[in-house]
């Protein structure tokens, strides 16, 4: 049975090597400072106790005021799964270091996050749109895409259901 490594345990191990790298540690994930991301990921991959050699999934979440990049990694030898996140609060042009040279499997997934969310991965060898065509304007998976008055994609979805609203972005009356 694959053991899900507690985020706080991963954070503890990271802190011993990189003192200021961990911003937050929850049971589900450990939040890493974006500047130290590549060092931390190299450590996670090469350390014998953690041995996160396999990157399961790299994805991005739009949290309205920040963007979070979520990484799930597995160790096949030790059969455990862990998750780290990093975030950036820059909305116009979010930049995060690329982990392609740590885990080559991140190559296409970072291109997808760039294409759909607009997150620039610094250091990626070939960052361009992958699903949508060159010249497409906008970042579709963001919550404020298309800013149509009266309709916030994903947020005002069910009438009468309380949901998050972006302030001053063309909402219809609540």
């Amino acid at each position: 049975m694959t053991k899900f490594l507690d985020g706080q345990e991963i954070a503890h191990q990271i802190e011993q090597k990189f003192p200021q790298a961990v911003v937050d540690a929850q049971p589900e994930f450990a939040m890493i400072e974006a500047d130290k991301l590549i060092d931390v990921c190299t450590f996670l991959r090469d350390d014998d106790d953690l041995d996160f050699t396999f990157l399961n999934s790299l994805t991005a979440v739009d949290r309205l005021d920040t963007f979070e990049i979520v990484y799930h990694m597995t160790s096949m030898r030790l059969n455990h799964l862990g998750s780290i996140k990093t975030s950036t609060s820059e909305r116009e042009k979010p930049v995060v270091p690329s982990v392609t040279f740590v885990w080559p499997g991140a190559h296409l997934q970072e291109r997808e996050a760039y294409d759909l969310m607009g997150i620039v991965f610094d250091g990626h060898p070939d960052l361009r749109r992958i699903f949508l065509w060159e010249g497409f304007a906008g970042w579709p998976l963001r919550k404020d895409y298309l800013n149509m008055p009266g309709h916030m994609a994903g947020l005002e979805r069910f009438p009468g259901e309380p949901g998050k609203k972006l302030e001053g972005r063309g909402n219809v009356d609540a």
């Binding site: 399961n56 885990w103 949508l132």
Partner: protein
């Protein structure tokens, strides 16, 4: 290209991009289950299963045992059907044209008849529900499956004899698209591509779900990491699927097929079903299964509302395409066809 040799290869995808991840944010959790049919349309049951497992993990629901057995049966039938297409089209790419494919599709048709008996649909089955499965199998399902299990092993052995020792298939696929075990792990490959390179990693054994911890089967592992090994791994997995199905047919238990969830309604016949609107607690969950193509994972973030806040599909076909350029450059154009056939992509999953 330089004559027949490939100098550079670029992958242009996105022609089937249907923005499922965005659409799913506006539909309830149960309404998103048909989306998962259509990502990997050749393996709809496993797609459904991965999604409902992610939501069940988020809500911490325990699924009843009979539902676990039904899920295992459907997933293994689906694996056999999907590998029929994958192996058959690979043989097609190697030059045997349509003959093996048509034989394998005929076997696949019998499995699709079973699916139609169980849930009414052949391809986009929409069978799994959050908390169980949608309906119980009719009484003629297990006898029909037993008849099928008597004849399929011989047919698979026939295919293995004809195809695996075939001079032309060996000449066209041995030594093509070689990936070592370290490269396969670094590129986040999964499924037969990873096992063909010698890494014995199968999520059904490493992280068992449904009823896989109760059945016995072997993992097929290749040695060289070339296209031939991946083909052989898929054929071997077909035989192992049949083995699992025989054990499931013997060990399946009676009982409810859906968990009793808070505010769930009870149908007149007495079986619980899911509530109309499900509101999982705030949080996130990542659940994965071994689909015929690799590790299919769903990362769901919930904000307590009726629709997911973030619905991400970790598509194995998409990620298995990462080393495509490395495998193709330096080979001839004829090999490029075989390389793509050995990756076994379903474009619906690549593009979502």
């Amino acid at each position: 290209m330089d004559g027949e040799k490939v100098i550079d290869a670029e992958m242009i995808i996105g022609y089937l991009h249907r923005s499922m991840e965005k659409l799913a944010e506006e539909r309830t959790y149960t309404q998103n289950i048909p989306f998962t049919d259509r990502t990997d349309y050749l393996a709809a049951m496993t797609g459904n299963l991965a999604y409902v497992m992610a939501v069940e993990k988020l809500m911490e629901i325990d699924v009843p045992e009979r539902a676990h057995w039904l899920r295992t049966i459907m997933a293994e039938l689906q694996r056999f059907a999907s590998h029929c297409m994958a192996a058959g089209t690979f043989a097609n790419d190697c030059g045997t044209w349509q003959t093996p494919v048509m034989h394998m599709i005929r076997d696949r048709e019998k499995i699709l008849d079973l699916f139609e008996m169980a849930c009414g649909a052949r391809l986009t089955t929409n069978y799994m529900r959050i908390g169980g499965v949608s309906r119980d199998i009719p009484p003629e399902f297990l006898p029909a499956m037993a008849t099928l299990l008597k004849e399929l092993p011989d047919r698979v052995s026939e295919y293995e004899d004809l195809l695996l020792d075939n001079e032309i298939i060996i000449a066209r696929s041995r030594g093509i698209a070689v990936l070592t075990a370290e490269e396969a792990i670094a590129y986040s490959l999964s499924g037969p591509m990873l096992r063909g390179s010698g890494v014995a990693w199968d999520l059904r054994k490493a992280d068992p779900y449904a009823a896989y911890d109760k059945v016995e089967f072997d993992i097929a592992v290749g040695t060289n990491g070339d296209a031939y090994d991946r083909f052989a791994v898929r054929m071997a997995e077909m035989l192992q699927s049949l083995r699992i199905l025989e054990q499931c047919a013997d060990m399946i238990t009676e009982g409810p097929i859906h968990a009793r969830m808070s505010t769930s309604t009870v149908q007149p016949v007495g079986d619980p079903v899911a509530p109309l609107v499900i509101r999982p607690p705030e949080g996130e969950a990542y659940a994965r299964i071994e689909s015929p193509r690799g590790e299919l994972g769903f990362y769901i973030v919930s904000d307590g509302g009726p629709a997911p806040y973030r619905f991400h599909i970790r598509a194995p076909s998409f990620i298995n395409l990462t080393p495509l350029k490395k495998m193709t450059v330096g080979a001839t154009i004829a090999d490029a066809v075989v390389v793509l056939g050995s990756v076994d992509i379903v474009v619906g999953e690549v593009d979502r």
